[in-house]
Amino acid sequence: MTTGSLTAGRARFRLPRRQIPVLATLVLLLVMYGIGVSQYQAFSNVQVIFNVFIDNGFLLVVAVGMTFVILTGGIDLSVGSVVAMTAMVSASLLQQGLPAALVLVIALLIGPTLGLLMGCAIHFFEIQPFIVTLAGMFFARGMCTFISGSSIPITDGFWTRMSQERIGDPRGNFVSISVLVAFVVVAVAAYTLAYTRLGRNVYAIGGNPQSALLMGLPLGRTRIAVYTISGLCSAIGGILLSFYTLSGAPLIAVGMELDVIAAVVIGGTVLTGGSGYVFGTVLGVLVLGVIQTLITFDGSLNSWWTKIVIGGLLFAFILLQRLIGIRYK
């Protein structure tokens, strides 16, 4: 008993279980891409992939913020409205002639501020994130129409340059500035989650908040931080969307929070928290984008098929998570 090391307790599973959902998403993505390539010749063009990024850059940024929130076991329903509000505020301020730099700063402050307030409400008053961020959602959407009942075009020079700038390779494939911004956000987020105390605390709290508290981790600070991060990501997403559309419209990005949640979950982040990766979220957004592209290429299918497929996939992935979760016990 004194010499024999403990062997009975060897890890029961050698498979990287936490990576299974991400791997499943990767396989799914490759299969879908394979279908596209085999069906449509033009699909193999690299620009098709680049376009998926260009069209979904803002979604990706917002989904990264949502990943933080869902990793703690929370949810943020306000993101779509905050995206719209950020775009509206930018368009409105630019219309009034404020300099682009100042507008950027203001627009980037609104989202995190709202996120901070929601985080505080969730933590200090112990209110369900669902209901707090639902309130945030209505508030931000209401602010959009308060600013203007109709769409405001953006004619600012900086904005148009950002919108039209193409960063390409010699063969003519290109991405927009938004894609680069999204990549930077993804990289910073992945680093934060993997290598900083804040990031590790996010996982710990998502795994077991009670334990995290008893281990002396700053529960409240971390919770508030993730909603602030989500707010910041929504604000960046809003700016990127206004680059993309060159306008602010009160009813843009309605229901986007649900797409974002779907992308995060399909990307393998568990809704109950504690397990998931930013890389998975990137894959999740790509899956959504590739579905849209496939349906566009087909041409005969109604765009509602996107929703139907996403619905099916979401259900399949939640089932998968549940199965893994049950066996995890």
Binding site: T2, L6, R17, R197, N201, A204, N208, L214, M215, G216
Partner: protein, 513 residues
Amino acid sequence: MTDNRPVVTMTGISKSFLGVRALHDVNFRLFPGEVHALMGENGAGKSTLIKVLTGVYDTDEGAITLDGQPVSFTGPMQATAAGVSTVFQEVNLCTNLSVAENIFIGREPRRLGAVRWGEVRRRARTLLARLDLDLDVSAPLGSYSLAIQQMVAIARAIDIQARVLILDEPTSSLDAVEVAQLFRIMRQLRDEGIAILFVTHFLDQVYEIADRITVLRNGGLVGEYATAELPQLSLVEKMIGKELDVLEGIEERSRRNLAVLEEGTPLVAVSDFGRAGSVEPFSLTIHAGEVVGLAGLLGSGRTEVARLLFGADRTDGGQVAVDGTPSSLRTPAQAIGHGVGFCSENRRAEGIVADLSVRENMILAMQAARGWLRPIPRRRQDELVDKYIKALNIRPSDPEVPVRNLSGGNQQKVLLARWLITEPRLLILDEPTRGIDIGAKTEIQKLVTQLSDGGMAVLFISAELEEVLRLSHKVAVMRDRQMVAQLANDDGLDADRVMQTIASGSHREEADR
């Protein structure tokens, strides 16, 4: 045990919650390099004492010293920082994180704000090697058994330079091999000079590992003993206590002969009922008009037996016959259909609906039995409720008062009334007298006797032996999740013999059948 000065002393500790005394003038000493068992039945004040020590609660009176210095922790974090670490029964780690991370999270070695994962893993391996554990430190904690998780929790605790390690019921969900592993680590830490405070309900474990024992009862200190000088039987006596018979007013249990009672077909006969990890298979017969007592220490499987009989947990196998007809008790609905009623031990959480009125609480079970589509007429409700308020002497007698405003004893009576209204044939009472005053206790005991005289069968579960002996015709003894004996409650049976059975687990053959 070394002859050093104690690392922890607690002197004259008192603590009350809303007027209920949880600890009264308790002294406690913990020496470096010893395993010290804190023993006592439920409600004895063990967990309160630990929470006072670790700063979860503050004291009303009394002083705590650590290394001779007076301390007063404001919370577990501060206690941990001062070297007093607690590992709870529930492993308080995050199963989704890796083993290494669970040990170091919050204190990870970093460079420029970035966690140095290589260093984290290396240090975790070193630390676990010290505990003679060979684990894959990058595997998620959840992939290891509960026992290993517990040891990882200990590793985390001792890495913070703990000098005092509090293990609060660490073994309650471990099997024998795992317990042995845990004890090996505990001995090793003890030999390194760490003081270990060990709480458990398993007597054998205490005698295997503990150097000294402190016994609490009803919030008071019974004494501090060297394990070697305290036989098991005396320990059980000290924990349960021979209550002075303040209940003299009560009539003796009806002395109907067990042999007569047990003539004919049993009301309920189960054989080989059991549930893995909860209670070993047992057989039991209960006849109409019979009171069967269930004795045993906390955690011995008393409540588990009751839950199986009520169908609240499903038995793994075995047969059941009701009135001699093969039947099944797989769900509470089936049990209720057979006329079984169950007053649960945990009346706050499982029984009473605090915001509903006395009347509403009383008719709940009857309404459930009738189905929700057939409401009980209000007049009938009032009749029944009035009858039982009078019969059980419930105060205040206003049926429309929310139950939360009643005292514990009266709440218990409301709960009893709820089942009595359904006129059960077998009533299971799990700790019906716990935490209620003597008067109410007497009334409930009287009631049990009356009911059984009226032909109702009762399974009576209580930690208080005197009470079990006073009421039961037959006593089934539980020990370590096994029904070790069934003793006829004739003149030859007394508390000493039941305690002996609890302590030794010997199967006495004088039992009935």
